[in-house]
Amino acid sequence: MSASLEKGVRVLKEVIDAPIASYFNSCVHCGLCAEACLFYTETGDPKYTPIHKLEPLRRIYEQEYTLLGRLGKTFGLSKPVTDAELAEWQELVYNSCTLCGRCSVVCPVGNDIVYMVRKFREGMSAAGHAPEGIKGAVNRTITIGSPMGVKLPAVKAQMKHVEADYGLPIPLDAEGAEYMVMLSSMEIINFPEYLGAIAKIMHQAGKSWTLCSTAFEATNAGMQIGNSDLARVLVKRIVDGAERLRVKTVISPECGHAYTALRWEGANLIGRPFTFAVKHIIEVLGEFQKQGLLKTEGFETDRLTFHDPCQLARRGGVIQQQRDLMNQVAQNFVEMPEAGFMNWCCGGGGGASAIEEGEALRLEAFKKKKSQLDAVKPDRLVTACANCRIVLEEGLEHYQMNIPVVGLTEMIAEHIPEPSAEKGA
């Protein structure tokens, strides 16, 4: 019960660095970032302009780390940031930002705005201005082990089902396995096919893999709320698990933020490089495909399109693999406008989907995705992020669009010949 403005400001003083200083000094208020943000384009409300979401951070930067700002503060020319302001900004920093990073790639002066939002959330959470929804998710992840409250027994039960359905073993805590597979609780609860798909793919590729009993949950609500201390606790579980099992590679599931948290933030959170590699499942599939370890039969014949999860593509650098994989199993794959690097967010990333009071705004922002889909009119929508999938399904339902959403890994797995059939051949 110690969150306070002072604490928030102190944390911000810690995280403000040269890039942030450079960014704030470069901004010319051109407003182009607004054009890149679906919360602005779909609402037309200028307060959703990305750089504006950082206004308190800018003031703290100027008042703490510039001479003129300090003088201004000393002589009362610039007023200090207040708790009420931060409370007001909560909606802008969390509800209306999915950390999709689109603003960062359009800013003409090169400001990495999402980098700053991520850092601003450190201060916002320390000042007690994080949304209840994300706080709850963090709480459950830390205390129970998963944002949706999934515990190991539930995972074990799921494993049993899958083993029975697929006739393939699901290894748990297998030391020395090549791959340690992580899950997101969405997959455990909503999309159990994912685990079966992994089993089939790994079996066909002939790779050793395992789940980890102490680290099965990949999502990191600590990173979404923007608190490094809590994010570190969650990453540490995975690092400890991976090092205990001495795996070569940890596979991040179809979950965008889990990938960012582990792949790009993890080593920085624990303060040392990893002893293992971190790959997104799509990256692994891409490697298998290149190595000829991914053999499929048959094609999907309906009209398919692919929604790029922001954290995988624009923020993660995995852009081509999903397309190659789509083409391996789909005959009628069409791209949405601005797909790939410039893809539009589903509207629920970065923890936004956990914010109940943000739902109306989220659905408003979904109109962007709707227009993208309307442009290509697909029969089904493929993606590679369980969170995107849930948000997309909600949005499609709201707008009464009859487009089923499927996970890419599962779709690939469906085209892998049954192990029995393989034996028979």
Binding site: A3, S4, T66, G128, V138, I225, D229
Partner: protein
């Protein structure tokens, strides 16, 4: 003397056509429209020649006599001489035969006889330092003389840059405390004919105007006749097209200089100098500085001597930058100091870090 001026001229063998030609040329030089030349000729021809010629008193102060030299070398000597013939030059130290007390008597006689009507021409600046002791005539400081003679003048012509603006004597650091005529005399019409020296025809043009219309011609904000100082050297320069094309002489002996390209980069002050050199030219229309391959010095502008150097282009700094490198060092030092303060602040914030627990998310 009887009849109009034209009759006076005719008696001296100057034909009407010669006079018309002179007026056309004078109008051209005064940058007046060609029709004005005819009007001027008609006005002057019809003007009754004064029964007594207007008296002119010429006072030299801190000067080099260059202005007088220039005027006496007017390039149409006969005609311009005639303009001077139309006046009575009652006091001009350099030109007059009289000297000493005789000269002073002539001065005072002229002042007395023409009180309130004579034209006063001044060349040279007036030193104020040491109570004016730097320049005295007949035991009187220039300041005293000027005040005394100006009192009865109808109008004053400040001849040359020294009289008009202080000129070279006033150049930094101005040891004699030199000032211009208009700095001292405030209650008389004053016309400035600046230049170092001024163009002779400007002088005769102003006199012609005074004789024709009995008043001084239209002046600009710096008290100069607009007719001659209405446009810059640059705008009337025959090399202007080269400026526009970006063709510049870079040194005085390069290809550009030989091709007659623009002298801007060699320090020509043409763009900021208002004078008629480019149209009237010097030495009987022979040439003028730019035509001779040298940039304009800007001698008809105030403080031309202190305008940053004759060979420095206008867009160059007038003085070398003195504080630039010191400022850069000071800025870097300030920056480093702030850096240390910032880093201290940041590490203080870091060491005050308390690891956040779940409870810490709540207020």
């Amino acid at each position: 003397m009887q009849g109009s001026l034209i009759d006076t001229l005719a008696r001296q063998g100057i034909t009407r056509r010669a006079f018309m030609k002179y007026c056309a040329t004078l109008a051209s030089m005064m940058a007046l429209p060609p029709a004005a030349g005819r009007a001027m000729a008609e006005a002057m021809a019809a003007a009754p020649a004064a029964t007594r010629r207007p008296s002119v008193i010429w006072l030299p102060f801190q000067e080099c006599t260059g202005c007088t030299e220039s005027i006496t070398r007017s390039h149409s000597p006969t005609l311009e001489g005639l303009i001077f013939d139309a006046i009575s030059l009652d006091y001009q130290e350099t030109l007059m035969a009289a000297a000493g007390h005789q000269a002073e008597e002539a001065l005072h006689a002229a002042m007395k006889a023409n009180e309130g009507k004579y034209l006063l021409i001044v060349d040279g600046s007036i030193p104020l330092g040491l109570d004016g002791a730097y320049s005295c005539i007949a035991g009187k400081s220039n300041l005293e003389t000027l005040k005394e003679v100006a009192k009865g003048a109808a109008a004053i012509v400040a001849m040359g840059s020294c009289a008009a603006y202080g000129g070279i004597p006033k150049a930094n650091p101005n040891p004699t405390g030199a000032v211009s005529v208009s700095d001292i005399i405030k209650d008389k019409p004053i016309i400035n004919i600046p230049g170092c020296p001024p163009i002779p025809v400007v002088m005769t043009g102003v006199l012609a105007h005074f004789l024709t219309f009995g008043s001084l011609p239209e002046m600009d904000a710096k008290g100069r006749p607009k007719a001659f100082y209405g446009e810059t050297i640059h705008d009337r320069c025959y090399r202007r097209p080269f400026y526009d094309q970006g063709k510049f002489a870079k040194t005085f002996d390069d290809e550009g200089a030989r091709n007659g390209w623009c002298l801007f980069e060699l320090g020509c002050k043409g763009p900021v100098t208002y004078n008629a050199c480019a149209t009237v030219k010097w030495n009987g229309g022979t040439s003028w500085p730019v035509e001779s391959g040298h940039g304009c010095l800007g001698c008809s502008e105030p403080d031309f001597w202190d305008a940053g150097g004759f060979y420095k282009a206008l867009s160059m700094p007038a003085d070398p930058l003195k504080i630039a490198s010191a400022a850069a060092v000071a800025g870097a030092a300030a920056g480093v100091a702030i850096s240390f303060a910032n880093r201290g602040k940041k590490s203080a914030a870091k060491s005050a870090h308390e690891t956040t627990t779940l409870a810490d998310l709540e207020k």
